[in-house]
């Protein structure tokens, strides 16, 4: 039991933040808070989470649309989340979008966002806080069509066949 009170390190911080250990290192560097042995107290982890705008629970209560194709169903829901979070040009941390999902769903949503970026429907950019995603105003309507299932995308369709 006392083991629980030993100083926590990089891996523990990564687990608590829901990111990979080397992302914790990056956040420590950009916030000038690299600690001895990469030790991370609760306060330190909270500060990294705040700086990185790391959030969890975006899928809590999210409804999946009716769709025979499970991959398309997940991606349509993810696009709906992006529209809800990024409307009006708001930039959000992109991995918030898949944090907490099963691993295969995480990969699917990440790939889908990259496809949408290639097709110019979302914009992905690197920032000190992390990889951010935003929706250009002129693509909101098209994304709504994709989220509702009224439209298709060649790139996404390829993804659904994998």
């Amino acid at each position: 039991m006392l083991d629980d009170l030993l100083p926590k390190g990089l891996t523990d911080a990564a687990r608590r933040l829901g990111v990979e250990p080397l992302e914790v290192v990056r956040l420590m560097v950009v916030t000038d808070t690299v600690s001895d042995g990469f030790a991370a107290t609760d306060d330190h982890v909270a500060k990294l989470a705040a700086f990185g705008a790391i959030e969890t629970g975006w899928w809590e209560g999210a409804e999946l649309p009716k769709d025979k194709n499970e991959s398309r169903q997940r991606v349509r829901a993810a696009i709906g989340l992006v529209l809800g979070r990024c409307a009006g040009g708001v930039r959000v941390r992109m991995d918030n979008l898949w944090r907490g999902l099963p691993l295969d769903a995480q990969e699917l949503v990440e790939e889908a966002m990259n496809v949408l970026s290639d097709e110019g429907l979302v914009r992905i950019e690197n920032a000190a806080s992390g990889v951010l995603i935003t929706v250009p105003a002129d693509s909101e309507a098209q994304l709504r069509e994709l989220a509702s299932g009224k439209a298709d995308s060649d790139g996404l369709n390829e993804l659904y066949q994998d």
Binding site: L2, L5, P21, M28, V29, E125
Partner: protein
């Protein structure tokens, strides 16, 4: 008086001689023709050899003495780093053992020192009080939890004090290297590739394995890279990590970084790697070695680029 020879007989003798002469001449012609044919065949063979040698000489003149160096360097680098990664595994296991021993000694000491009453109370809370907390009125529960947090804070502070710094490993110093290359075809850094003497599973399977010296060695190298990109005006640089030949490879898009990035990175590696306390305690030396960018690319990629070029 000698017997008289008729003219006819005499001419017949001449005809016979002539016939013999003709036969000999024909035989000589056949013999000369045969010799000529053999000499011509020998000459043709020699001419073929001359042609072949001339062609080979031309190839030798055109051949670049550095041909094969890139592929051989790639193989040599990864073979060396894989060997070093195995050494790191061994040292990481030794360091983990030393840390576990040190931590256990500190935890054992807790129960005997001045914090013994607090430890007893902590244990009592975890085994007897915590399971019944939900049954208590909220006001009691809040007071008990607040009191418990106070105890936890004091024990934690003591542990942090006692476990400050990494455990020292007994044994010889192990010297390791990381290699990196910067692609700057037009003089401006565009891409960084760095390969560490760390097995890729250290980070690809990080959630399933304990944090150890390998984790810290990889983290220190990545810290140095991010320190350099930050100083180079690229605070949003995002490295991509992955396994290559079983080793951890790091790739960073350097678009927009300052032109002196190579020097910033060399300085950063030097500063971070030489001052990392856990590497010193683990008796690990890690040197950053800059190599030709092409040496880090798999041969097939290199060939593709040459074809495209």
């Amino acid at each position: 008086m000698t017997a008289m020879q008729s003219v006819t007989a005499a001419l017949e003798g001449v005809a016979s001689w002539r016939s013999e002469q003709e036969a000999r001449r024909q035989a000589e012609i056949v013999d000369v023709d045969s010799q000529l044919e053999k000499l011509r065949a020998d000459l043709a063979e020699l001419q073929g050899k001359i042609t072949s040698l001339e062609a080979f000489r031309g190839q030798l003149e055109e051949r670049d003495a550095s041909e094969g160096v890139v592929a051989r360097s790639y193989d040599a680098i990864f073979a060396a780093l894989l060997g070093q990664a195995a050494q790191l595994d061994t040292r990481a296991a030794e360091a983990s053992e030393a840390t576990a021993k040190r931590n256990q000694a500190v935890l054992d000491g807790l129960s005997k020192g001045e914090l013994a009453p607090l430890v007893q109370e902590y244990n009592q809370f975890k085994t007897q009080v915590e399971p019944t907390l939900q049954a208590l009125p909220e006001s009691y529960r809040g007071a008990i939890i607040e009191h418990h947090h106070g105890i936890v804070d004091r024990i934690r502070a003591h542990l942090e004090d006692q476990i400050a710094g990494p455990a020292v490993v007994e044994g010889d110093r192990v010297e390791l290297e990381l290699v990196y290359g910067i692609d700057a075809p037009s003089g401006t850094p565009e891409l960084l590739i760095c390969v560490l003497p760390v097995k890729d599973v250290t980070f690809t399977d990080w959630a399933e394995r304990p944090e150890d010296l390998s984790t810290h060695l990889g983290a220190r190298a990545v810290q140095a890279i991010y320190e350099a990109t930050k100083q180079g005006g690229l605070p949003g640089a995002q490295a991509v990590f992955g396994g290559h030949q079983g080793l951890l490879a790091v790739e960073v898009d350097l678009e927009g970084v300052s032109k002196d990035f190579a020097q910033l990175l060399a300085d950063s590696f030097n500063a971070v790697l030489k001052s990392a306390p856990e590497l010193a305690a683990g008796k690990l030396g890690l040197t950053a070695r800059k190599v030709d960018f092409d040496f880090l690319l798999p041969p097939e990629i290199e060939d593709d680029e040459e074809e495209e070029g």
